[in-house]
């Protein structure tokens, strides 16, 4: 039976990995991920599972060691944040190209400079095109669930791709939340032992990561893209199974009070909960607002997005990162592109919010929606706005 407990979310992420009986963890500590690293090492030190914990000397080596271990057929977990994720950047697309089903918890944090340890999504966005499946958790329960789902998705023979689970740094990692920790027996039933396609072992020698030139490189890229695109079917199936076994439903884009909503706001990560409260308040005022919470960032849920925005007059896309000199925020850029071919589509407003830990309160989200409601379909001069920025 699942147990309802109160637990710090970073610790819960490590506990979820332990329920998956990882064989190897290779982690380098970084704020605000450190508690994940520490707790993973505790689990191994106490012999709660039979695993190796590698105290790597950097994030680049964390991902490298994770790849080496995964290539032997081990189930591998790692975790990082911010600069650590940027440092890993070189090896991330190699992990996906080599189809190594590593699971990584990311305690999302702003990228330097200036140095800032608080939360936004500027660390994960530059990794967007590295070929990883990318999930965004809204609360502690989703972190636990997604960490376990991630192994099942990653190791599926039709997927064989690494998965990252995005957890807002501090706002989520450092919260003590009430949640249901699944039972070991239930997780064992949901997640069978990893059966790798090929491993590094002398009984059947293989060469992994060979040199490939212009005659095959395009084909490898196409195969990787197809793997990502096709992974959605598996993700949806895994979520269906999860709902059946554990009673909690997951969707690529989760709607909140979307019925009859003329103004929709889209969030990713923990801010969905604050925004939901704002939506409740707005509805009380008679403003027909609704919320879309995007849980699946890669593969991008095109169909679900198109369906979700049908009938809405305005779509406010919130971004927690900046594509400098580009279309504003990366999420809005993708949403605009996804809806461009639709015969009818909502007006799209891009609000860049919560950078480097800048607080977003209920009234802030309300202000954003009310401003959009007032403007109606009138076009804004700017394609995006740094919400709440102080300017001299």
């Amino acid at each position: 039976m699942s147990k309802r407990i109160g637990i710090e979310v970073a610790v819960a992420a490590a506990e979820a990995a332990a329920l998956c009986r990882f064989d190897v963890a290779a982690v380098y500590p970084i704020t605000p991920q450190s508690h994940v690293a520490e707790h993973l090492s505790n689990i191994v030190a106490d012999g709660r599972i039979d695993a190796e914990f590698i105290t790597v000397e950097s994030e680049h080596s964390a991902m490298s060691a994770a790849m080496g271990a995964s290539a032997t057929g081990a189930r591998v977990v790692t975790a990082t944040s911010s600069q650590g994720l940027m440092y890993m950047h070189e090896v991330l697309p190699i992990a996906s190209a080599m189809r190594l089903p590593i699971v990584m918890a990311i305690a999302n944090r702003a990228v330097s400079g200036p140095l800032n340890i608080l939360n936004d999504h500027s660390d994960i966005m530059p990794q967007r095109d590295s070929g990883w499946i990318s999930l965004f958790a809204e609360n502690g329960q989703e972190v636990v669930d997604m960490m376990i789902q991630a192994f099942k998705i990653a190791e599926h023979r039709d997927v064989q791709l690494p998965v990252n689970v995005n957890i807002d740094g501090f706002q989520l990692t450092h919260m003590v939340e009430p949640l249901e920790m699944p039972d070991q027996k239930e997780v064992d039933k949901f997640l069978p032992p990893y059966k790798p396609y090929a491993t590094l072992h002398p009984d059947k020698p293989v060469s992994m990561g060979t040199f490939a030139m212009n005659d095959v490189y395009t084909e490898v890229m196409k195969a990787k893209d197809a793997a990502l695109v096709n992974s959605k079917e598996v993700i949806l199936a895994v979520w269906k199974e999860w709902e059946k076994r554990f009673g909690r439903a997951y969707e690529p884009i989760e709607g909140y009070r979307v019925k009859g909503a003329e103004i929709l706001m889209l969030t990713m990560g923990s801010m969905g909960e604050t925004a939901a409260v704002a939506i409740d308040e707005l509805r009380k005022k008679g403003i027909p607002a609704g919320l879309l919470k995007m849980k699946l960032w890669r593969p991008f849920p095109f169909d679900e997005l198109k369906k979700a925005v049908k009938g809405a007059k305005t779509l406010i896309v919130t971004d927690r990162a900046v594509s400098f000199g580009g279309p504003g925020g990366p999420v809005a850029g993708e949403v605009r592109s996804a809806l461009y071919d639709q015969p009818t589509r909502p007006a799209i407003i891009n609000e860049i919010i919560g950078l480097g830990g800048r607080d977003m309160m209920v009234e802030h989200f309300m202000e954003i929606v009310m401003k959009a409601a007032k403007a109606g379909r009138k076009k804004r001069k700017e394609a995006y706005e740094f919400y709440g920025v102080r300017e001299a």
Binding site: A26, E57, M67, V91, L200, P202, F211
Partner: protein
Amino acid sequence: MSMPSNFKLVENFDLYAPKLTDREEYFCPGHRACQGCGEALAVRLMCKALGKDTVVTNATGCMEIVGSLYPTTAWKVPWIHVAFPNAAAVASGVEAGLKALRRQGKIADRDVKSVGIGGDGATMDIGIQALSGAMERGHDMLYVCFDNEAYMNTGIQRSSATPFGASTTTAPAGKVSIGNKTWKKNLPEIMVAHNLAYVATASHGYPLDFMNKVKKARSLKGPSYIHCFTVCPTGWRSASEITMKLARLATETGIFPLYEVENGKYRMTVEPRTPLRPVEDYLKLQGRFRHLPPDQIKVIQDRVNMEYRKLLNKVEHSKSWSEM
């Protein structure tokens, strides 16, 4: 195929080689290394000494390029390449993975050695952090650096292994430059400072010595490091048929002495005749040193004499350590 005349440079090779080496090839013919490549030879010898129960992690570099063009491979042992700076880190992950799976009974209960390999750039420059980390953590693994003294794969740019006075494409000899102005970094000594079970220098010019060192490193538990000197005719602008001769000369001149450090104790494994041959015998056969005037050759000679004496002192001092 006729053997080059300097084949006999290796004493009693005909006598010992067939008895002491594995006939099986694990780094197979058909790869695309240059004619006279010392590194390809050294890798082949290393594989023979390691045997089949080996997983090789290869840093980006010549051996990765010449040995693995998809869909072909020259590797008969399990082999993985990830990137340039992280072979030691990947190999440490391979070791941890094999260890965990073996302990849990998920793979055969057999000793499979994780071996990381890379060139001097991958090992001594961009990969030194990953190497230091992997060695310090005490993984049961071997790392072998194949040092040909520059970034040969990218076109002969200098590395921290490039010797003083060598002309490279990023440290070229010019009107106001003698080429590379720094002395070769002593990585084996840095590895000794990691308190490894075993550190050795080696050379493909002394194949049996090299293979014995690989076998010893393989048999020891814990991290070990071998720094193998490899001649690169393309980068050194030397004739491809004198690859073995140049490797022998590097040791005979004292430029690259062959020794091992077991639990901190130094021992010469090849004792060149004394006095050592003059460094000029070695330098004059290579285009990369052709521009050096006699006064600079003397600077190199003095430095080599000093470094060689320092090494002999360590060997001498080590003897007393065993009595402690």
